[in-house]
């Protein structure tokens, strides 16, 4: 790692926020992260036109943080206030992110101080990034699964396996093993289903002398078992895009190995779980909001892009006591005017990283305590009072909140504040709070972890029983500090999400990847095991963001020779047990 030079010519810091976008998701689902389309949707920097003008930025800029520097194409956007830039979640954004989690297990992904300057350099390519991170090889052997027309059929009530909304009303039309239509799914869902066969990992691989060599499944599993058994302290990570049953086996494997198992919630709503541990939660399921909520607040989340069906399913739908959109007030609280904000009756723009101040002010306003400052977190006092009044006088208010609240500033203390706010609102009326969950089964990953280990994520078995010490046993911290000596990744892509330092350490340890598509982590893998898609090729259970468990359907068979996560993990457990003399 090289210490970076502060760029000359500007002494102004910008605030960098990262987040999900629809295009990022669509491109990832259709073309993988190795594609130009993904590059075009993720390697991009959005900034305010005035800022661009002032810096002399035209089509590209160089962004530099304390941790790294990248050159990115620029998109001018009036949605961003001055002084802020936005980069979609992905390897470019991560390159700028520090490894410190402040003891929360989650790196700071929003509100990062950066410098921006005009440049003539070429945008940083994915290959350049991965090389700098220490990738073991850059070759990918993407294959399209052969789809043959054949029997035409329609499978009804299919559950979408993309986001935490788990829409279960999809109608999937098949021609042989080709998915030709997805009725009911949003654009991301359509992209995922219709492209399920493309860019697949269809064979197991082992890296030999730096190159990926195709091998048979047994050999790959043997090699994986050898790596795991040899490791003193292996980490199993991912698990939010697979089924409940696979999560159960993954935790069992960690227990057998006296290792550690973490799921991706450490990266999204980990702080929410920590806050619940401290103060509790006031939750509701979707139908409660549909029938009763006359006030819907989206806070630090952008369902219009990240959960595209969400608004239609809940806000627009007619309920027993509230007859659809016209009888509901919609409030959006965010740092930038997202597409969701454009649908709001009231939009409250917060200064980045200052949610906690705003929450505190709201709690005061609700108790009729005087707020002296004319502005709180950039919001005029009158607006705070207006919102407080709306909340108190609602018949049933609901808040959906996202990473904008969990990831910024005070992180989990923000959530403690929001939960307290909602608990207090219940003295006046009915109010509930629900985290918008990203990956389709990230909520399920927490549930399984809780019933097996009593902790929601980041569970360590070094002492042969479960422990959770956030900031120590959480994946980011374990990797950033180089504490683990092997990594098994299941249906996830840590290289695309972890801060630079953690990824650099991934390059130094043996890595096993179980996935259906070529993730960026495959460039760091020593063993790759192809898997079927849960919800398309494999059945299993998953939990919606409100805790409603659903059965994911299988609509086509997995490719020949390719197993589902559950079966891969079962076999791996058997092999590990045999090597450890534990029998079955």
């Amino acid at each position: 790692m090289s210490a970076f030079q502060h760029p000359l010519g500007t002494n102004r810091f910008f605030v960098l926020n990262t987040g999900r976008t629809t295009m990022q998701a669509i491109s990832m689902e259709s073309e993988t992260k190795w594609s130009t389309r993904y590059f075009n949707s993720v390697a991009i920097l959005e900034m305010n036109p005035e800022d661009a003008k002032e810096l002399g930025v035209k089509d590209r800029a160089k962004v530099t943080s304390d941790y790294g520097s990248v050159v990115l194409p620029v998109k001018i956007s009036k949605r961003l206030p001055r002084g802020e830039i936005f980069i979609p979640m992905g390897p470019w954004a991560n390159f700028l992110i520090g490894p410190d989690t402040d003891g929360t297990g989650m790196p700071t992904l929003k509100g990062i101080k950066v410098r921006v300057e005009a440049t003539t350099e070429q945008p940083t390519t994915l290959e350049q990034l991965l090389k700098q991170l220490g990738a073991k090889g850059l070759e990918v052997y993407m294959e399209d699964l052969e789809v043959k027309p054949g029997e035409k059929k329609v499978v009804e009530n299919v559950v979408c396996s993309f986001c935490g909304d788990l829409c279960d009303h999809l109608k999937i039309e098949l021609d042989g093993n080709r998915i030709i239509r997805n009725v009911g799914g949003c654009a991301i869902s359509v992209s995922k289903f219709l492209n399920y066969h493309r860019h697949r990992v269809l064979k197991p691989y082992i890296r030999k002398n730096g190159r990926l060599i195709p091998v048979d499944l047994e050999e790959a599993l043997d090699k994986a078992a050898d790596i795991l058994v040899k490791a003193k302290y292996p980490l199993i990570f991912g698990l939010s895009s697979t089924c409940v049953e696979a999560n159960e086996y993954a935790i069992e494997l960690a227990e057998i190995l006296n290792g550690v198992v973490d799921n991706t919630s450490v990266f999204c709503h980990g702080p929410t779980a920590l806050a619940v541990q401290e103060v509790g939660a006031v939750r509701y399921t979707f139908a409660v909001a549909i029938h009763l909520a006359d006030l819907v607040i989206f806070w630090g989340c952008n369902p219009a892009e990240a959960h595209p069906n969400h608004i239609a399913r809940i806000v627009m739908r007619k309920g027993k006591y509230v007859k659809g959109r016209k009888e509901r007030k919609v409030v959006v609280i965010d740092v930038r005017k997202t597409p969701t904000a454009e649908l709001a009756d009231l939009y409250i723009q917060l200064e980045p990283g200052r949610d906690l101040e705003f929450i505190t002010a709201l709690r005061m306003a609700i108790r009729d305590l005087e707020i002296e400052a004319p502005k709180v977190a950039g919001v005029p006092r009158e607006k705070v009072l207006e919102l407080a009044e709306m909340m108190k006088s609602a018949r049933y208010g609901v808040i959906f909140f996202g990473l904008g609240v969990t990831m910024t500033g005070a992180k989990y203390r923000n959530i403690v504040g929001v939960i307290r706010l909602v608990q207090e609102l219940n003295e006046w009326t009915k109010f509930g709070l629900l985290p918008m969950r990203g990956h389709f089964n990230v909520a399920g990953a927490n549930e399984v972890s809780l019933w097996i280990t009593c902790y929601p994520f980041a569970t360590d078995y070094a002492r042969k029983f479960s422990r959770m010490a956030i900031g120590v046993t959480s994946a980011t911290d374990l990797l950033a500090s180089g504490d683990v000596d092997a990594l098994l990744v299941i249906a996830s892509d840590p290289v695309a999400h972890f801060p630079r330092k953690a990824v650099e350490n991934i390059s130094k340890i043996p890595v096993i990847v179980v996935d259906a598509k070529w993730s960026l982590t495959t460039a760091f893998a020593d063993v790759i095991i192809p898997a079927g898609f849960v919800g398309i090729e494999c059945s299993g259970s998953a939990y919606r963001m409100d805790g409603v468990p659903l059965r994911m359907k299988k609509v086509v068979d997995p490719p020949s020779g390719v197993l589902c996560d559950v079966d891969i993990l079962k076999k791996l457990i058997d092999k590990v047990k045999a090597r450890m003399g534990l029998g079955r």
Partner: protein
């Protein structure tokens, strides 16, 4: 399969009228068989001389699985810290947690106490898949779940608008779709009021949005369960739970059986954790035990059974119930953590940590109520000892509760540390009743098996029963339990040997093998025209009310590990 011969044990098997006889129990292919069917040369011989042999224990009410329990785990990291037990693979997985333990501790600790069947008594329909996933993960014991119905909008619509037959058909569908065993009512109707108004209601209050009272709901569900001839008719947590003076609501609730058109003999209504609804007095300071009144009502009314919800003083608890309005009130008393979940158009739940203190006046009265009900009514066939785990205390303290039931000395020894004022105001100190080991076998085996309608295969040691056996290292001919109750606690805390389905799972108090039991559920048979009609209603109601499709709601048998379907021939097909 292995053959096992348990020789010369002191057998307590009330269903077969056996009271402490020395005899052999033979096991083959996971079932109890005649001793003559065993080839002694091939059989494993277990010398049970001087030891007590009973069927595996059955817990009719303990919150062991599902969304509430899991939120409890999340809410209470401090519950887990000092409770760890490392894994011993491949025999035993790691254990953690006290009031909200992990799935392994649930299975193992029940097994260590000789229990082999436990009922999760409250699952919200839409989240019952979750409940089953946890039940699937609990080792050793058999299990079942009761499904929440009292605040379900579809049920209330049907009660308001349709016939009892259609309501019954809906419940039949619900039981078989959620793979549950019986119907559960929690603070009947109150979760409708909670969702809409943020408060609970009493027995004769109107339910918001409906021209119905909780009394109507209990009666109508009671009538439907009679038509369905459910073995366990309905499991009721009474209104006003947790409020001083609520024993009157409980007495009135018990009387509703007189309004029900009874088709079957046996209890028409089971009142659960009666302690929590046995409060006399009009405030916390004037609180008295309603135990005597409830016991009297029990003797007058043969159609009610109940369980205790016995408080364990000196223990932490995690209260969790579908009685969301009550938890909100409790949160105001404790002012620490509160979790709440409003669930679809069905129910709600609340979770609040709590500690029962020995010297506390209210907590002592609570302790008194449970014991008074049991000791005054002296009807072990209708009164089941539970702690409503983890509401009144952890299930792992059952042996302590048994000691209070079997030994006056045990009660007196513990009373020394409790609120003397509370005791002075109670009848308990002057009660001399002491149950016997036979009574204990009734209360923890025979009676719960009968109340669940499983007495053919569970709760006894007669030929044909499942080979679930507990052998306790205590010889009642040598130990006078009433004087030496600590021996009883010791023996029942760590069972000497436990056999589940013919497999030895516990030896000398420790788990030696991890196997998985079965999940029982009811499938009442209804005529096809009624079935069609109910499907039509459901298709419409689901579109109107639910956020998931009807298809997604239904839990398939393959989602259950070792399912056992209990087909029930109903009054409707006659």
């Amino acid at each position: 399969m292995t053959q096992i011969l348990i020789k010369n044990g002191i057998v307590f098997d009330p269903i077969n009228g056996i009271n402490g006889e020395v005899m052999d129990i033979a096991i083959k292919n996971g079932k109890i068989v005649e001793s003559t069917e065993i080839d002694e040369s091939k059989a494993m011989i277990i010398d049970a001389r001087g030891k007590v042999v009973m069927a595996g224990g059955i817990d009719i009410h303990s919150h062991i699985a599902g969304p509430k329990v899991n939120v409890g785990r999340l809410l209470r990291p401090e519950d887990h810290y000092l409770t760890n037990k490392p894994h011993v693979l491949p025999h035993r997985r790691a254990e953690t947690g006290l009031t909200v333990p992990n799935v392994f501790r649930f299975g193992y600790e029940y097994a260590r106490m000789g229990y082999t069947f436990v009922v999760e008594p409250a699952t919200p329909p839409i989240k019952t898949r979750h409940t089953h996933e946890e039940l699937n993960a609990i080792p050793i014991i058999d299990k079942a779940a009761f499904v929440l119905v009292d605040s379900n909008w579809i049920a209330l619509d049907l009660i308001s608008e349709a016939s009892t037959e259609l309501l019954a058909a809906y419940f039949a569908w619900l039981l078989s779709s959620t793979k549950t065993l019986a119907l559960k009512l929690v603070d009947p109707g109150s979760d409708v009021a909670w969702l809409i108004k943020g408060k609970g209601i009493d027995l004769d209050d109107q339910i918001p949005g409906y021209d119905l009272t909780p009394r109507d709901i209990i009666r109508e569900i009671g009538n439907a369960s009679q038509l369905l001839r459910l073995p366990h008719k309905m499991h009721v947590h009474c209104n006003r739970l947790g409020y001083p003076g609520n024993y009157l609501t409980t007495l009135k609730t018990m009387d509703i059986v007189r309004e029900i058109k009874r088709v079957d003999d046996g209890p028409a209504l089971h009142i659960t954790h009666v302690q929590f609804t046995g409060y006399k007095g009009d405030s916390w300071t004037t609180l008295r035990s309603g135990g005597e009144d409830i016991a009297e009502a029990m003797s007058r009314n043969p159609y009610v059974s109940l369980d205790l919800g016995q408080v364990i003083p000196g223990r932490p608890a995690t209260t969790m119930t579908a009685d969301a309005p009550f938890e909100f009130v409790l949160y105001h008393l404790t002012r620490w953590k509160w979790a709440s979940a409003d669930t679809e158009v069905e129910t709600a739940a609340g979770i609040v940590p709590y500690v029962y203190r020995k010297r506390n006046y209210v907590n002592t009265i609570q302790w008194v109520i449970g014991l008074e009900v049991a000791l005054i009514s002296r009807d072990p066939w209708r009164i089941i000892p539970t702690t409503d785990h983890p509401n009144a205390g952890p299930f792992t303290d059952y042996p302590k509760m048994f000691a209070w039931l079997l030994s006056k000395k045990a009660r007196e020894d513990d009373m020394r540390d409790m609120s003397q004022l509370a005791l002075k105001r109670s009848a308990l100190p002057s009660i001399n009743t002491e149950f016997t080991l036979y009574d204990l076998a009734v209360m923890t085996r025979a009676a719960p098996a009968k109340l669940l309608g499983l007495e053919k295969r569970k709760g006894h040691l007669g030929v044909g029963a499942d080979a679930d056996v507990a052998i306790y290292d205590i010889d009642p001919r040598e130990v006078e339990i009433s004087k030496n109750y600590k021996k009883l606690i010791q023996a029942f805390k760590r069972t000497w040997l436990v056999i589940k389905d013919g497999v030895i799972v516990v030896k000398e108090g420790e788990v030696v093998k991890t196997i998985y039991g079965r999940t029982y559920y009811a499938e009442p048979v209804i005529p096809s025209d009624l079935e069609k009609e109910v499907k039509r209603v459901l298709e419409k109601k689901f579109k109107e009310y639910y956020s998931i499709t009807l298809d997604s709601f239904i839990i398939n048998e393959e989602e259950i590990r070792n399912p056992v379907k209990i087909k029930i021939s109903t009054q409707l097909t006659r």
